[in-house]
């Protein structure tokens, strides 16, 4: 496969699975500016690491791994050191008008619920929401299936406590 074909394939796959990036951004960043920065950083990282994707796992699994790595490690480090990105990636944001009060409540609810979770728990619950099996969650996050099960129970308990309040 030549470079052009490889690029086309990458563009198609990323475009089809872009929801993964949105999910990771939404889960780890609570303000628009951070979300845009993270979105941009994940895309760059995906693009740079694409050569190392050999197709051993599903594209979405690989994409989750890269996106979560950026969100949990690199992005946090960069943000801690200094704010580097003020540019805005070109993806359409939901405008204020488009967000109804019901959506706004939903966003608040989600933020309240997930802000009590740590970084690994956020990854696990996000993958659970995406209907991933424990096996897949373990494969993406690099922890054992048993630990995923234990973590899931703890997360459920934690969220239940918050949601019932």
């Amino acid at each position: 496969m030549n470079n052009k074909q490889q690029e086309q394939l990458f563009v198609k796959q990323v475009t089809d699975s872009q929801g993964i990036i949105h999910k990771v951004c939404r889960m780890y960043c609570h303000n628009d500016e951070h979300r845009k920065d993270l979105f941009q950083e994940i895309l760059i990282q995906l693009w740079n690491s694409y050569a190392s994707f050999r197709g051993d796992s599903k594209f979405s699994t690989w994409m989750y791994r890269v996106a979560l790595n950026v969100a949990i490690q690199d992005f946090r480090k960069v943000k801690k050191e200094q704010k580097l990105f003020s540019s805005t990636p070109k993806f359409k944001e939901i405008s204020e008008e488009e967000i109804s009060s019901a959506d706004d409540d939903n966003l608040k609810l989600i933020h309240n619920a997930i802000s009590s979770l740590n970084k690994l728990e956020k990854a696990i619950i996000m993958l659970h929401f995406d209907n991933k099996s424990n096996e897949e969650i373990a494969s993406i996050t690099g922890i054992s299936q048993n630990y995923v099960r234990v973590k899931m129970n703890r997360i459920k308990a934690k969220l239940k406590k918050i949601l019932t309040h």
Binding site: Q18, R26, S87, D103, L159
Partner: protein, 218 residues
């Protein structure tokens, strides 16, 4: 509310955000360029602040040093037991001048970066040169610190051990040299760490941008 309800809320929010985004190599390049330019702007600001810090503190220090010229030997002043007023004047003047020279050095390098940004056609080359300039600034600052502070430490120790006495080759020389060496090593460590903390992230991020561009060029 149950977990399943939260899941459905989550799916709803994400579905709203999943608006098709067209991604291409050009867009990746564009993003890296924007990221690099923002990085350069942040670096320029940092250098500007550092330059003004050196000029202001250096500029204040020099007139302060001249006060010692009007102080009589038997008056009360800082370190009166160790240094004479004229020695205090010389030490403070050296410190002030060192800061001014450091400010000039940073100023020249800052201008080089600005010139590179406006004249260079290739962003990758600019980033590589800026990275070199930044490393040079870090090294120069460490040099200044490791020359000036141990020098002053040497003077203080000399005064403590040989106060009012003529110079003699004895064990005190070893103490002075040892003290100066310890100060040198300590200051070098502290200065290096300080430079790493202040400019290290910039160097790392510049190198990451260069690497990103290399990948895209391939």
């Amino acid at each position: 509310m149950e977990l399943e309800e939260l899941k459905s809320v989550w799916v709803k929010v994400i579905n709203k955000e999943c608006i098709k985004y067209e991604f291409s190599q050009n867009k990746a390049k564009e993003m890296i360029q924007k990221k690099s330019n923002t990085l350069l702007t942040k670096l320029e600001n940092q250098l500007r602040y550092k330059r003004w810090f050196c000029f202001i503190i250096g500029g204040i220090t020099i007139p302060i040093s001249s006060i010692y010229l009007f102080i009589k030997d038997d008056s009360n002043y800082l370190f009166e037991n160790i240094f004479s007023p004229i020695e205090m004047f010389s030490i403070i003047l050296i410190l002030g001048l060192a800061l001014i020279f450091l400010g000039i050095n940073i100023s020249l390098n800052y201008k080089k970066i600005i010139a590179l940004k406006t004249t260079s056609e290739n962003l990758k080359v600019t980033l590589k040169r800026v990275s070199h300039i930044l490393k040079a600034i870090m090294k120069t600052t460490v040099y200044y610190d490791t020359i000036i502070v141990p020098f002053i430490s040497f003077l203080v120790l000399y005064r403590i051990f040989f106060n009012e006495e003529s110079f003699l080759f004895d064990i005190r020389i070893l103490y002075i040299l040892l003290g100066t060496l310890i100060t040198f090593l300590f200051i070098r460590y502290v200065s290096k760490r300080q430079q790493e903390t202040r400019f290290g992230p910039f160097v790392k991020n510049l190198e990451a941008c260069i690497l990103d561009m290399d990948v895209l060029d391939d």
